[in-house]
Amino acid sequence: MWFYEKKLQYPAKVGRANVKMAKYLITQYGGPDGELAASLRYLTQRYHMPTPQAKGILTDIGTEELAHLEIIATLVYKLMDRASIEEIKQADLGGYYADHDKAVYYVNGSGVPWTAAYIQSKGDPVADLHEDMAAEEKARATYEWLINLSDDPDLNDTLKFLREREIVHFQRFGETLQIVQEHLDAKKYY
């Protein structure tokens, strides 16, 4: 089960409201390589992991991704806060506004809603861990493109934190992959 902690993992700041950046950033909320996809992917793959280390790491990283999801929501909320209709129209977010006002919803940067088709749970632990490592690299790249798009040092500070987390997660999944591969080899040959 889970309990909520009434605090963010990182002090997420934005320098100024910026509707355009909110539109780009929301892909890390409900996009293909975003935090929701990451969390739900790891939390559902854990049931078919063969070693205790793998069950642990998928549970714990899946949980940390929920904390990242909350950080992204906070940033989008702050970037959109107090935006005028005029700014929303200029950022080409009129379609989003018609459906959601300024509420935070699970879509990618082009407004396409989140789908479970973004993730896989193959039942093959080696295949799943490869997907997880790729997911971390894709999220890292997304944060780099977002940093390129943003000229707000406060926002970039949080984006850099989230990017570095993807590197640490990649390392942990890589170690887990070695453990799982050795475990499966031992089962095959001895």
Binding site: H130, N148, F161, R163, I167, V168, Q171, G174
Partner: protein, 48 residues
Amino acid sequence: MFTPNDQMRLARAYVPFQIFSQRLNPMEGLMKGTIFPELYFPYRRHHK
């Protein structure tokens, strides 16, 4: 180029294990996104 050793097999991915030696202080670790200096790879932004 990377040369495989005896324990390594083709058609398989390998990530070296981290061996913990040092850590950053908690606030520095939080600001950097990791407490492990050997895992800290900051992004150098480039304009294309």
